[in-house]
C-alpha cells in the first residue's frame, strides 16, 4: 500500500487568497492512498522544502504531490527536494493551483473545488508513478553560435576561452553585425570600430573558433548534448585559403552596385568586402550582379544584348583565387549546445506615408546617419544631404518611428533610440558647430548608469532643442523639408524647415528569425523576437534544453546588455559542456516484448528514428526503443493499437487514472 504525501501551498496570497487551502488539505486527506497532507505558506522556500523532507522521513511517504504553482516553474526544485529525502525524484507530481486556478478564477468556491480536482488528479497519477533512473549520455563538447554580431562574438570568445570548440555561423560575408555600421557608441562615445574590430579579429584567430561566414543554418536535429546541424556554406566564388585579401579585385571590378552595408547611400563592387575592417577580410562575389555570371546566363538563352564577358578579377588576381566552379555546400556538424544571437534589423520606415514613404532622399534613418558620420562611410564622415551633398544646418530628429505605434503594429518601445539620438545631436555639433538639432520625442527614456547624464549633454552642450510631440507630416518644400509637429508642452503646432530629417527607427527581429526558430524548435512572439525560458529568472535559456538565446534577437537591447547577454549565454553553455556526460531525461518510451505484434506503426511515426527492430528468442521481430534518441513525445504510444509501448512519466495507466478520477464522481 503506497503512502502519498500532499503538500498544498499558499504561495503567500497568490493561491491562499482565492483557494481555501485548509479545505484542500482536508479533502486531500480523504483521498485514496493519501497518508499525510499539510499546507505551507511558501512550499518552495527552505522551510517549505524542509517540511516535505521531514514528512517523507517521519511519515514514511513513498510518493509526494506538491499542489502549488506550475510544474514548469518548480518541478525540478521539488524533484531535488524529494531526492535529498531519499525518495526517487520521479515519484512526484505537481498540481497547478496558481497559474491554472487561483490566478484565473475569482469565485473562491469554484476555484477551491477545481483545486481539489487538480490535487485528486495528481494523487491518482502519482499513485501509478514508478521510480525512474536517468541515464548518462555522452555529449559533444562543441558549441554552435548562430549570428556574428557583438553578442555572438562575445559568446563565441567566452566559450572558446573556456577551452571548448566553437563554430560561429554568420549569414553576411563578414562578422560585426549592426554594430559594425555604427560610428560612435553611447554613453562613452567610443568609436564603434575601435572597440569591435579587435574582437572580430580575435574571433577569426582564436584556435578554438571556426568562423563560417556567408553561411546559414539549414536543419537542426537531435537534442541537448547531441545536436546535429546542417550548415549551408554559400558559394563565395573565391578560394579563401589562397586569397590574401590584397584588394586588387574589388578595386578593379567595373560593376558598381548599391551597398547594403551603407544602406543604399554608397556603392560597392560585384566582388566585395562589405566594409574595410571586414573579418574575414576576403571578398565574395555577388552572383546577381557579377557581369561574368550575367554573361553565362545570357549564353544559355542568347536573348537580348550580349553582355561583356569581363572576368577582370580572375585576370588580375595575383594568387589565382577566383573559383568559378565553387558550389554551395552543406556541412553537417555535431554540437552539444547552440546559441542563437541573430540580432535585429531596423524598422523599414517606408511604411510611414506621412513621412514620405522613402521618397524624400533627405529623410534618412538613424542607421543611415551613422554611415554618413562614419569615417569609413560613403562620405568619409562628412554629414551631407543625400539630395545635393550640401552641409545641413537644420537637422530634425523624429523619435519612435516604428515603435510605440499600434498603427504599424509595433506597440513596444525599442529602448535605444532616445540614447542614440542624443549621441547624434552631440556628435553633429562636434562635426559642425553651426548645426541646430531639433528632437521630436514623446518620452526620453535614458535609464541605466551614465545614460541620463549623457542624454542631458545633448541639451546642455549641443544646444539641441527637444520638442515634446510626434511629427504628423513631412513634405518636400523646394530645397528643404517642411516638418509639421506640435510642442505639446506649450500646446502649439510648430513647423521647421529642415535640411535633413533623421527618423529614429525602432528595432525588429532580423530577417526570417521565425523560420530559424521553427528549425530549432524554440518559440517566438508575434514580432518574431525569440521567447526566453523565463523573462526574469532564465533570460538566456529557452524551453528547449541546450538551446540558448542572447542579444537583440530576444528583444530590443543596447550594446552593453547585448555583451552581458552574450557572456551569460556563454556561461550557460560552459556549464553544460563542462559535464562529462549528460543525465538524460528518463521519461522515454519502453516496449513490452510479449505484447508487440511487430507492425512497426511506432517506427513510422517516431520523429527521432528511436525505434529499432529486435528479434526475440522465438524468432518474432519486435520493436525496441533506443533511449538515447527517444525524447518522450509519446507519438508511438498512441500509434500502438495493442498498447505494447508505453511512455514513462506519462503512461497510459497514469493518464487514464487522471481521467477516471475526474469523471467518476
Amino acid at each position: 500500500m503506497s503512502r502519498i504525501g500532499v503538500f498544498v501551498c499558499h504561495c503567500g496570497t497568490n493561491i491562499g487568497g482565492i483557494v481555501n487551502v485548509p479545505e484542500v488539505v482536508e479533502a486531500a486527506k480523504a483521498m485514496p492512498l493519501v497518508a499525510y497532507a499539510d499546507e505551507n505558506k511558501y512550499t518552495c522556500s527552505e522551510v517549505g522544502q524542509g517540511s516535505i523532507r521531514d514528512a517523507i522521513r517521519e511519515q514514511k511517504l513513498d510518493r509526494v504531490v506538491v499542489a502549488a504553482c506550475s510544474p514548469r516553474m518548480h518541478e525540478n526544485t521539488f524533484r531535488k527536494t524529494v531526492a535529498t529525502a531519499g525518495l526517487n525524484p520521479y515519484l512526484l507530481e505537481i498540481a497547478n493551483l496558481r497559474e491554472h486556478c487561483s490566478w484565473v478564477h475569482s469565485d473562491s468556491k469554484k476555484a477551491t473545488a477545481k483545486a481539489i480536482d487538480h490535487v485528486r488528479m495528481a494523487v491518482a497519477k502519482v499513485a501509478r508513478h514508478e521510480s525512474l533512473f536517468p541515464k548518462q549520455v555522452g555529449l559533444t563538447k562543441r558549441a554552435l553560435v548562430i549570428g556574428g554580431g557583438i553578442t555572438g562574438i562575445q559568446a563565441a570568445l567566452d566559450i572558446a576561452s573556456a577551452g571548448h570548440e566553437v563554430v560561429l555561423v554568420e549569414k553576411e560575408p563578414s562578422v560585426g553585425g549592426r554594430m559594425s555600421q555604427l560610428d560612435k557608441t553611447f554613453p562613452t562615445l567610443d568609436c564603434s570600430a575601435c572597440i569591435l574590430t579587435p574582437k572580430m579579429v580575435d574571433v577569426a584567430q582564436h584556435p578554438n573558433i571556426t568562423l563560417l561566414s556567408y553561411s546559414e543554418v539549414k536543419e537542426v536535429r537531435g537534442f541537448v548534448g547531441n545536436f546535429e546541424v546542417d550548415i549551408l556554406k554559400k558559394a563565395k566564388m573565391v578560394d579563401h585559403k589562397t586569397c590574401t585579401g590584397c584588394g586588387t579585385c574589388w578595386q578593379k571590378c567595373p560593376e558598381k552596385v548599391t551597398s547594403e552595408f551603407d544602406l543604399g547611400l554608397g556603392q560597392r563592387t560585384a566582388i566585395y568586402i562589405p566594409f574595410a575592417q571586414a573579418v574575414p577580410n576576403k571578398p565574395v562575389i555577388d552572383m546577381e550582379n557579377c557581369r561574368y555570371q550575367k554573361y553565362l546566363k545570357w549564353t544559355q538563352t542568347e536573348e537580348g544584348k550580349k553582355p561583356p564577358e569581363c572576368r577582370i578579377c580572375e585576370k588580375l588576381c595575383p594568387t589565382k583565387s577566383i573559383a568559378w566552379e565553387q558550389q554551395e555546400e552543406i556541412v553537417t556538424e555535431k554540437f552539444g549546445a547552440l546559441v542563437v544571437a541573430t540580432g535585429f534589423k531596423t524598422f523599414d520606415h517606408s511604411v510611414y506615408g506621412e513621412y514620405g514613404a522613402g521618397r524624400y532622399p533627405d529623410v534618412i534613418s538613424s542607421l543611415q546617419l551613422e554611415r554618413l558620420m562614419s569615417a569609413a562611410g560613403p562620405t568619409e564622415g562628412e554629414v551631407l544631404r543625400p539630395s545635393d551633398n550640401t552641409h545641413p544646418k537644420n537637422i530634425v530628429f523624429i523619435q519612435c518611428v516604428g515603435s510605440r505605434d499600434d498603427k504599424v503594429g509595433r506597440p513596444y518601445c525599442s529602448k535605444v533610440c532616445c540614447m542614440y539620438t542624443a549621441k547624434h545631436a552631440i556628435m553633429l555639433k562636434e562635426h559642425d558647430p553651426e548645426v541646430q538639432c531639433y528632437v521630436f520625442y514623446i518620452d526620453i527614456r535614458a535609464g541605466g548608469k551614465d545614460f541620463e547624464e549623457f542624454a542631458r549633454r545633448a541639451q546642455d552642450e549641443s544646444g539641441a532643442v527637444y520638442l515634446r510631440g510626434r511629427v504628423s507630416q513631412i513634405y518636400q518644400d523646394g530645397k528643404t523639408l517642411k516638418v509639421l509637429g506640435e510642442d505639446s508642452l506649450i500646446g502649439r503646432p510648430v513647423e521647421i524647415d529642415a535640411d535633413l530629417v533623421v527618423l529614429a527607427t525602432g528595432m525588429e527581429a532580423s530577417e526570417d528569425a521565425d523560420r530559424l526558430a521553427q528549425t530549432l524548435h524554440i518559440s517566438y512572439n508575434i514580432y518574431n523576437f525569440l521567447i526566453e525560458a523565463h523573462p526574469k529568472l532564465r533570460p538566456v535559456e529557452t524551453q528547449t534544453d541546450g538551446v540558448f538565446v542572447a542579444g537583440a534577437a530576444v528583444g530590443p537591447r543596447d550594446i552593453p546588455d547585448c555583451v552581458a547577454h552574450g557572456s551569460a549565454a556563454a556561461a550557460k553553455v560552459i556549464g553544460l559542456l563542462s559535464q562529462d556526460s549528460l543525465t538524460t531525461d528518463p521519461l522515454t518510451a519502453i516496449v513490452a516484448p510479449m505484447k508487440c505484434v511487430g507492425c512497426f506503426a511506432c517506427k513510422a511515426v517516431c520523429p527521432f528514428n528511436a525505434i529499432e527492430e529486435q528479434t526475440t528468442r522465438d524468432g518474432r521481430i519486435i520493436a525496441s526503443v533506443n533511449e538515447s534518441l527517444c525524447k518522450g513525445c509519446g507519438l508511438c504510444v498512441v500509434a500502438c493499437r495493442p498498447g505494447a509501448i508505453n511512455l514513462r512519466g506519462f503512461t497510459n495507466q497514469q493518464l487514464l487514472s487522471e481521467v477516471m478520477t475526474l469523471v467518476r464522481r
Partner: protein, 287 residues
C-alpha cells in the same frame, strides 16, 4: 460460373501441392448442409476435389494466414478479401514469398443460411467497387476494370438524423452487444496478442457487459480500423446480435477518403493514413 472456377482452382491446387510449392491450400468446400460453402484446408493433393467455388463463398480466408506464419500456403481470395493481403503485408504480419494467391474475380456473394440460399446479393456486394483481386499469382475469371465511384448512401442517411437520435441509435446497439468479440475474431485487421478491450491495466473498458463499456468497445474497435478496414464486412456477418458494424466502418472509410484521399489495402507500401501526414494539409480543424 461455379463449374469453371472450381475446376481451375482444383487444377491449380493439385499442381501446387504436388510440386510442394505450398504445404496447404486454403479454399472453400461445400458445407455439411450440402448448400452453403465453408473454409477448406487441403494438405494432400488427393483431396483437391473437395475444393469448390460458388456464390456462397463468403469467408475472408486471408485471416487464416496469420496462423500459417513461415509456412508457404496458397489461399483463394475474392476481390474484397485480396485487399486484406495488402493490409497484412504493409503491417508485416505475412510475407509475400510465403503466400500463393489464387485471385478469383468475384461475381458477388448471395445471402445464405444453414441449408438455405437466396438469390439476393449480400449488402456488401452492392457497395463493392473491387470485384477484381488487387493481388493474385493465379487469376481466375475475367477482370472487371470499370468500377463506378463509391457512394455511401447508408452513411449519409444516418448523418441526416439529429445528434440525439444518432446517440440513441448507437446506445441501443451497445445495449444489445454481448462482447463475444466474434467481430474481432473474423476481422483480418485484428491480430493483436492482447486486444485493448481485455487489458486490466490500464482498464480502458470495464469487464462489465453494460451499455457504456460496450459503446466504448465498439467505438474504439471502429477507430482502430480507421484507414485499415477493407470493408469485407465479415464483422457484421458474424455478429450474433446483428449490430450494423458496416455503418461505422463505412463512415470511417468515407472520412478517410475525403480527408486523406486514401483507400485501405490497395497497395502494399502506401503508409496507412494515421501513421503519416502532410505538413500543409487543411483538415478543417483548428484552422
Amino acid at each position: 460460373m461455379g463449374e469453371d472456377f472450381t475446376q481451375q482452382i482444383r487444377d491449380k491446387a493439385k499442381e501446387l501441392l504436388e510440386n510442394g510449392a505450398v504445404e496447404c491450400v486454403i479454399g472453400y468446400e461445400t458445407g455439411s448442409d450440402g448448400v452453403s460453402a465453408r473454409p477448406a484446408f487441403i494438405y494432400d493433393a488427393a483431396e483437391v476435389d473437395r475444393l469448390a467455388f460458388d456464390n456462397t463463398c463468403t469467408h475472408n480466408l486471408v485471416k487464416y494466414l496469420l496462423d500459417k506464419k513461415g509456412k508457404s500456403t496458397a489461399v483463394v481470395v475474392k476481390g474484397c478479401d485480396s485487399r486484406a493481403l495488402n493490409l497484412l503485408l504493409s503491417e508485416r504480419q505475412i510475407q509475400r514469398d510465403k503466400v500463393y494467391v489464387i485471385g478469383v474475380v468475384c461475381p458477388g456473394v448471395v445471402e445464405w443460411g444453414w441449408n438455405k440460399r437466396s438469390e439476393q446479393l449480400q449488402k456488401r456486394c452492392n457497395w463493392c467497387r473491387q470485384h477484381t483481386p488487387v493481388v493474385s499469382d493465379f487469376a481466375v475469371g475475367e477482370p472487371i476494370t470499370e468500377e463506378p465511384p463509391a457512394e455511401f448512401a447508408d452513411v449519409a442517411e444516418m448523418a441526416t438524423k439529429t445528434a440525439e437520435d444518432r446517440a440513441t441509435f448507437w446506445r441501443d446497439q451497445a445495449e444489445r452487444c454481448i462482447r463475444c468479440y466474434a467481430c474481432r475474431q473474423a476481422c483480418p485487421g485484428c491480430y493483436c496478442i492482447d486486444c485493448f478491450v481485455e487489458l486490466l491495466d490500464p482498464e480502458w473498458v470495464g469487464i462489465r457487459i453494460a451499455p457504456d463499456e460496450n459503446w466504448m468497445w465498439n467505438t474504439i474497435r471502429a477507430y482502430h480500423l480507421g484507414g485499415r478496414c477493407i470493408s469485407c464486412n465479415e464483422c457484421e456477418r458474424v455478429c450474433p446480435v446483428n449490430i450494423p458494424l458496416s455503418l461505422l466502418n463505412r463512415k470511417l472509410e468515407q472520412e478517410v477518403l475525403d480527408l486523406f484521399d486514401y483507400k485501405a489495402g490497395m497497395s502494399e507500401d502506401a503508409p496507412a493514413p494515421l501513421i503519416t501526414f502532410k505538413k500543409d494539409e487543411n483538415l478543417g480543424i483548428a484552422e
